[in-house]
Symmetry: C2
Subunit: 274 residues, 2 copies
Amino acid sequence: MTASPDQRVIRIDDPRDDRLAPYRDVRERDLVGREGRFIAEGKVVLNVLLTSPHFATDSLLVLENRLSGLSEQLKLCPPDVPVYCVSRETMDAIAGFPMHRGILAIGRRSGQHTVDTLLAAMPEHGLAVVLCGLSNHDNMGSIFRNAAAFEADCILMDETSCDPLYRKAIRVSVGAALKVPFAREGSIEALVSKLQRAGYTTFALSPSGKTSINAAEPVQRTALLLGTEGEGLPKALLDRLQTVQIPMSKSFDSLNVATASGIALARFSRFSGL
Amino acid sequence: MTASPDQRVIRIDDPRDDRLAPYRDVRERDLVGREGRFIAEGKVVLNVLLTSPHFATDSLLVLENRLSGLSEQLKLCPPDVPVYCVSRETMDAIAGFPMHRGILAIGRRSGQHTVDTLLAAMPEHGLAVVLCGLSNHDNMGSIFRNAAAFEADCILMDETSCDPLYRKAIRVSVGAALKVPFAREGSIEALVSKLQRAGYTTFALSPSGKTSINAAEPVQRTALLLGTEGEGLPKALLDRLQTVQIPMSKSFDSLNVATASGIALARFSRFSGL
């Protein structure tokens, strides 16, 4: 390791060092209780973490040969955040598998949004993405990425949806999981009722939707509801909402839910007329 | 195992049995020469394989408790195709990792398309997807899935793009990699020249594209060109083609290439007016 003038950088050679405990066996750690903490991977995600008002950073873990490329990030990083610097061998021993990226951080929520606070903070022309039972972390991450790209104002999801702050979801989202405000709580019925009371028209995306997405008229306050792949949205919900479908082949009517979210956001966002 | 009346079903208990060799260590096998053979996983992909005129099936490998659910597929399967039936323990020992799906098949190309044969077979209102340097098998599979959903007529890719018949690409495509005709050959410049001679207008999708995708007018013969993430399309190519962009956030201008393909196909396919 080249000597660093940064006093925060702490060289560690023993993978059993207690200070590295939060990084140990990250794949398993994802699946257990984490008390609002999460793992951010890679430089792009780290940039989002360090500039977000909603998250704090506990520490960084950086491969020795990646440190010199992080000078911009270290400037953004509060002075009391330790930066642990390790060899490739130590990194792999800590992570429990070959950790190619070489840049990790432990992030922490500095608060938690609720559906009510998010809806109260929405702009006049709000666009919300609403998720029901979304269980795949890749899809969750991709939907956040699309929501950020098309500037949806928030993502609301029922309690059966998976955690957007799971390591892989954050990575796939390219940091958007730390950028787009979200709340995860209660049943999908309770969510839809709250949206209705707040003046939102909910468009439920479904292969059996009544209106083509190309014919549906965007409204002032739009909620785009997406269900999990496989089962899709509960029929009782489809019966009482406006349903839209993406016209496609009759012989291969299968789009990934994240791709469907991208197509729907391209259509319903403020960018659709540009 | 319940006794099967199907004479093709062969129970095997020794994971070292030579007949299982094509299935051994499938993760590594994906990366080496396979002589036109590939691994199909899961019931949905198997359905596509067994009904495709362009592929043949060497054999099936099925977990004992999945066999009874495959009666429809076994009817579609030629009588000389052996169906190897194994226990969970044997399956995992063969695959080299826990193989959850329990249904595998070895497929084989019965011929190979070229760019010339595919272009010659295109309909009057052809829609081609063209890929340059696409290296991620997930994205490759997703693009095939989108192409099938929006009925693109073929996918053409340069020789630096990855193999759509890689196990994971086929799985992510939900079988579309066995459904949408494709050719992979030569340089992207040669591909674009062939498209031009065949009367195609190539729209190159790029964040720096001159025209909004919402304003671009579909033409009779459309080719949609997508580059790999990161580097994107070569500048020399962008300079001489019509370029289109998907309008999105200035502060998060990052869509996954497969998602971008879905949005572009929704816009340029025959379904865009429906």
